[in-house]
Symmetry: C2
Subunit: 145 residues, 2 copies
């Protein structure tokens, strides 16, 4: 079934980027898709299967929103936590709006990942880059306001 | 892409049901699919759109494993937390094995939900029933041992 009716009240950049329920759904989407993408990435560069599930660091997401020049989706005077919630809400929006499937997000992130993701500093950089790429890609699906 | 290579080392009921990394991925799958299914269910029985994201209670999942007669997938002397992890691992297995998509799980759970999910006791009962149904459905995709 289509899930569009879950977002048909959200018709502006600010409404999407500041919706708390949408951000909660997006939190699950971001953590799950990144976990699987990272598992694939680590497995492809290893001799054993690697399965990992994790929460994506808020700094990774807030950096991505800034790098994609999308801070105007967030509320005014937003802190890193607010900016991360905005990224989560935006990603949930495109999934519920049928613009991208969860598998497409997994594959997109996996293709954009690079570096040594077991190194914390490198993961911060390269995961931020992957999410920046994702945000730039999905801009076209969002309201112009 | 197919994610089957992420599970090709897991060839028995016990290996699937006790794998920690798989349970972590499944934790994300369970929380996300149930959150969207519950959002749909609440929205369909309301005059406003309801969006919610939540962690599924461990008791709901451990009850489902017992009700589906699948405790043998868990480790010996498993507590409720272990049993819940086993449910999460099993659900992750069928997703990574391409037996069910995330959207199919959302739709399945949504179709099985009933009662007043804003009432904690009722949610415990009806969500346990929905996950029991899901486990019974996916048995056919799991190794016979």
């Amino acid at each position: 079934m289509s899930y569009k009716f879950l977002i048909n009240d959200l018709n502006s950049q600010k409404k999407i980027g500041t919706d708390k329920g949408l951000a909660k759904i997006g939190d699950g989407i971001v953590n799950l898709t990144y976990s699987i993408a990272k598992s694939i990435y680590l497995t492809e560069s290893s001799s054993t299967v690697q399965r990992t599930g994790l929460k994506v660091n808020k700094t990774i997401l807030s950096n991505a929103l800034k790098n994609a020049n999308m801070k105007h989706f967030a509320k005014n005077r937003a802190d890193a936590h607010d900016l991360a919630n905005t990224v989560e809400a935006i990603i949930a929006y495109v999934v519920l709006n049928d613009n991208m499937t969860l598998n497409e997000i997994i594959d997109f992130l996996k293709d954009k990942l690079s570096g040594d993701l077991k190194n914390r500093a490198q993961e911060l950089k390269y995961a931020s880059d992957a999410f920046t790429n994702l945000l730039n890609y999905i801009k076209k699906f969002l309201p112009d306001d």
